[in-house]
Symmetry: C2
Subunit: 304 residues, 2 copies
Amino acid sequence: MSVLIVGSIGIDSVKTPFGEASDVLGGSAVYASVSSSFFNKAFIISVVGSDFPDEYMELLKSYEIDITGVEKIPGQTFRWKGYYTYELNEAKTLETQLNVLSEFDPVLPDSYRNLQDPHIFLANIDPDLQIKVLDQIKNPELVVLDTMNYWIENKPESLKEAMSKVDVMVLNDGEARELTGEPNLVKASTKIRELGPKRVIIKKGEHGALMFSDDSIFSAPAYPLEFIFDPTGAGDTFAGGLIGYLSDVHGNKEEDYRKAVIFGSAMASFVVEDFSLERMKILTWDDIKERYYQFKTLSHFELI
Amino acid sequence: MSVLIVGSIGIDSVKTPFGEASDVLGGSAVYASVSSSFFNKAFIISVVGSDFPDEYMELLKSYEIDITGVEKIPGQTFRWKGYYTYELNEAKTLETQLNVLSEFDPVLPDSYRNLQDPHIFLANIDPDLQIKVLDQIKNPELVVLDTMNYWIENKPESLKEAMSKVDVMVLNDGEARELTGEPNLVKASTKIRELGPKRVIIKKGEHGALMFSDDSIFSAPAYPLEFIFDPTGAGDTFAGGLIGYLSDVHGNKEEDYRKAVIFGSAMASFVVEDFSLERMKILTWDDIKERYYQFKTLSHFELI
């Protein structure tokens, strides 16, 4: 089993109430694949410019991530600059330079096409590109889709087509409300499921996550952190942990998904403890297991 | 065991995106005592005006609530008028008429003073009055304090004195941040506990509740409702269920508190399903037990 991830690789500059970091590694495919790699082998499809530092490529390789599908083309790498106030749930964008991402035409290398029943994560990127990647894969075991408000507003039809082709959609609460025009998240999730995905996972940042299917709702807590240094990448790290765990255990039952949501939440709770991937560099499997148990302690109560 | 509640009795007019209700029974002591009465006998200390309808007094009696401590004095009953937008977490006040509440001088009837080890809920009201009630009780088993932003802003010293005398404080996330000047809820709860209460329960509306003590954090989910007709009284109903359960089982262990938070959340999830106390009028113990189990189903996940 393996996890194939399409999304952005970028160079971020971010400022939070607790510090700042310039020209650090970022992007949806990066956060998701690093997180996923703790559970199973990850394969990235993305693009970088000729300015992309070798050390960042080496960093990805150090997680045994397959970067055969990362094309390097002339030009500048995608760049994002933003900041967070104490409202850490919402990133404020100062500047987005798509650069080489605007020319990205994802073509899967043969080695990716021949993956056995891969789990696919279509991380936040133009929905037309998400569809293009999906169309090149014969028998995906599971497809998870993420998006953002920009695509909801600017490419609603492409996004709906992408939604009709996937099993699980992950998005945050604001996006779920914007996509459906429905303030109530229970109703919003029903509307989203009517467009294709059998499951919807709504990320609520510091308030945890909700997962909806035909016959169940799961409410996952967030890990209450005293210090959140940088929320960048938390959502992609969540999704990477989720799909990484599912692919590792080859699970598709309700209880597998619930465990996957907790693993995703645990991974996200680590990545926000420092800028960029700093925390992930020293993260161990023991840390992850311990935090999983902490999520249990945090939310457990006895029956009456 | 018994629950003694001081707080307001009022006449509310409220409008939500789903309808409106005029001149209905409300007030912090009302919601808290009705909720608490499903678990144990409640005793109210409050005041009403000569206009207070007999039918509302009868309604309280129908829950076997002791209203000996409800003084009826010349003048108008406390009135609140407000509305909610789709942001159902936050009430917008159109008008507050304190009326007889401004003259309220709580003196406990002898029958209340002789209660054996009562559980006390100091519902939202002037902290000077909360202290005055507390000073008249010899051996409270447990004291729970609520407040609101108005007292944080206008009577901070009285509020701090009240906090120094109680075991548990319940407040919402916005109030916790305002009281401490600390946006992070983990840190805010530590600051609150430094002022007296050994436990702090932070209500987050549709995002559930967090309970903090010296050596534990508990994250309780909210019940995901498709229809929230009127959030008025949800916080007081939560606190009433919490203290009602604790007094009924005479519990003070971590697991008792966790169950109490779930019972409080369950009671709150019912009261918002209709205006005023309409839903509570037809609520049964079987409904409450069933919802408790639904909270378990909602939040349960297996260990790895």
